[in-house]
C-alpha cells in the first residue's frame, strides 16, 4: 500500500478497467494540472513582488562589504574574470552571476584605490567566505571582512568579530604570514587569535591563495582607464 502513497504522478497508475479509469486518469491529471497552474501563478506573483527587494538586499550587502574593505571608495565598478584576464563586460549569452568577479574601487579624485576580491575555502567547521581589498601598487591589503562562516561561536567566529584581528589586515603586506603571539615585527605578519588558530590561518590562507590566483590578473589590468 505504501507504493500507492509515493505516487507523485497520477500517470503511474496502471490501467485496469478501461472506461472508468480513463475518466479517472484524466481527472487526476486535471487536478494536478490545475493545482500546478495555480501554484505557478502564485509563485510567479510572489517572485515578481520580492525579486527587486531581494536583488537590492544582495547588492546593498555587497556594496557595504566592498566599501568596507576598500576604505570607503567614492565608487566602484565590477570586473569579470574572462579568459584569464579582467574585463568590464561578460561575453554575450553568459550569466554574469556565474562568473568570478573583482571589484575595482576609485577614490574621490577618480584615482584607483584598489581591488576587492571574494574567495572561500574550508575553515574549522565549514567554508569561510572572505572579501578583502588589495592595492596592487603597494602590494598592501586595504581591509578584510568575513562574509560567511560557521566557525565556533566565541572562538572561531572572532575572525569576524574581533576588531584587533580584523584591523590588522588593513595595511598588511602580501603574502601574509600568521604568527602565534607577541608583536608584529613586519607588515607581513598577522597575529592569530589565541585558541582559534585554524580559523585565523584559514583567513590568511584564503587571502594568500586568492592573491596567487587573482593577483596576476589584477597586475595585468591596464593601469589607466581610457575614459
Amino acid at each position: 500500500m505504501t507504493g500507492a502513497e509515493g505516487q507523485s504522478g497520477g500517470a503511474a497508475v496502471p490501467a485496469a478497467p478501461p472506461a472508468p479509469d480513463e475518466v479517472k486518469t484524466s481527472r487526476l491529471l486535471g487536478t494536478l494540472g490545475v493545482g500546478g497552474a495555480v501554484a505557478g501563478v502564485l509563485l510567479v506573483i510572489a517572485f515578481g513582488l520580492t525579486l527587486p527587494t531581494i536583488e537590492a538586499n544582495k547588492a546593498r550587502e555587497l556594496e557595504v562589504a566592498v566599501k568596507e574593505v576598500l576604505k570607503a571608495p567614492a565608487r566602484y565598478e565590477t570586473l569579470y574574470v574572462v579568459g584569464g584576464a579582467l574585463a568590464r563586460k561578460v561575453p554575450d549569452g553568459t550569466d554574469p552571476k556565474k562568473i568570478e568577479r573583482v571589484f575595482l574601487g576609485y577614490g574621490t579624485d577618480n584615482q584607483r584605490v584598489g581591488f576587492a576580491m571574494v574567495s572561500a575555502e574550508a575553515g574549522f567547521q565549514d567554508l569561510v567566505k572572505v572579501i578583502f581589498g588589495y592595492d596592487p601598487k603597494t602590494k598592501q591589503l586595504l581591509g578584510m571582512k568575513v562574509l560567511e562562516s560557521k566557525e565556533t561561536p566565541g572562538l572561531g567566529d572572532k575572525i569576524e568579530k574581533d576588531q584587533a584581528f580584523v584591523s590588522q589586515f588593513a595595511g598588511a603586506q602580501a603574502p601574509l604570514v600568521g604568527i602565534k603571539t607577541g608583536k608584529r615585527s613586519n607588515p607581513r605578519e598577522v597575529v592569530m587569535i589565541t585558541g582559534a588558530t585554524i580559523s585565523s590561518k584559514a583567513v590568511i590562507r584564503i587571502i594568500n591563495s586568492a592573491l596567487k590566483r587573482l593577483g596576476p590578473l589584477v597586475d595585468a589590468y591596464p593601469q589607466e582607464d581610457k575614459g
Partner: protein, 241 residues
C-alpha cells in the same frame, strides 16, 4: 483510507505520534485551537518536526522567524487543502498536498529573503525544509483533508502556535545560556560567561532532551498524584461503605 498509512504517518509515526483526533466526536471549536498549544503539542508531545526545532533555535530571533514561517505555511496550506478537499482525488492526495505546501514554502522563503535577509541567511536551507516538516503534512493528512475550513484553520493555528511555543522555549534557553542575551539584548552584562555549547549542535540535542525530560517529569508527577488521589477516593468510598 482505512488500512492505508501515509508516508507522514510512517515516517514520524514510528515513535508513537498520535496523528490528530479525527472527526468522530463533536468537539467544541475552542478545543481544536487549544489542544495544539500544550496537550497535543506537535513538538513536545507528538515529537514531530524535530529537525527545525533543533537546527535553528540557537537564537530567539531565528526561532521566532522560523516559527512564523511555519505558522504561515501551516495555516495557509490547511486553508487551501480544506477548501479544496472535495476536488482532490484520493490517489493524488499526497502529491497535491505537497504541491500546495511547497508553494507556500516558496512564497515564505521569498518573503523572508526580501524582508529579513540576515535571518534568512542564518536559517539557511531550513526555510525550504519546511516542505518536509512532518507537522504540516501530518496535519493535512490527519485534519485538514477531512474537516471543514473553519475547524481546519483553527487546528492549524493551534498547531502552529504549539510549534512556535516549542521553538521559543528552545530558542530562549539556548540564547540566554549560550550568549547571555535575549533577542540580542544583553541580560547579564559583560561579566557573564556564555555556555557556547548551547548554540552548537550538541547543545540543541541536550536542550531538547532536557525540555522533554522536564515534560516527562511533570507528566509522571501528575500521573502519580492522580493515582494517589484515586487511591484516596477509593479509600473514602470504602470507608463510607
Amino acid at each position: 483510507m482505512s488500512g492505508e498509512v501515509s508516508p507522514a504517518d510512517l515516517h514520524c509515526g514510528a515513535h508513537g505520534a498520535s496523528a490528530g483526533v479525527g472527526p468522530r466526536r463533536a468537539v467544541p471549536p475552542g478545543e481544536d485551537l487549544v489542544k495544539g498549544f500544550w496537550r497535543e503539542n506537535p513538538v513536545l508531545v507528538q515529537l514531530l518536526g524535530l529537525c527545525p526545532t533543533l537546527a535553528v533555535t540557537n537564537s530567539v530571533a531565528n526561532s521566532a522567524v522560523m516559527g512564523i514561517a511555519t505558522f504561515f505555511v501551516l495555516v495557509g496550506s490547511s486553508l487551501l487543502v480544506s477548501a479544496s478537499r472535495r476536488f482532490i482525488p484520493n490517489e493524488v492526495r499526497i502529491t497535491s498536498y505537497i504541491l500546495i505546501i511547497a508553494t507556500f514554502v516558496s512564497i515564505a522563503e521569498m518573503a523572508l529573503q526580501a524582508l529579513v535577509p540576515d535571518i534568512h541567511k542564518a536559517l539557511g536551507a531550513f526555510v525550504a525544509l519546511i516542505v518536509v516538516n512532518c507537522i504540516i503534512l501530518g496535519r493535512q493528512e490527519a485534519f485538514a483533508g477531512r474537516n471543514p475550513v473553519g475547524r481546519s484553520v483553527l487546528d492549524a493555528v493551534g498547531m502552529g502556535s504549539g510549534f512556535m511555543i516549542a521553538m521559543l522555549i528552545m530558542g530562549s534557553v539556548r540564547e540566554v545560556l549560550g550568549s547571555g542575551t535575549f533577542l540580542g539584548v544583553s541580560l547579564f552584562g559583560p561579566g557573564f560567561e556564555p555556555w557556547v555549547i548551547m548554540v552548537l549542535p550538541p547543545g540543541g540535542f541536550f536542550t531538547l532532551a532536557f525540555v522533554l525530560l522536564t515534560v516527562a517529569w511533570f507528566k509522571r508527577r501528575k500521573a502519580l498524584k492522580a493515582r494517589e488521589a484515586e487511591r484516596h477516593d477509593v479509600a473514602v468510598v470504602e470507608r463510607a461503605a
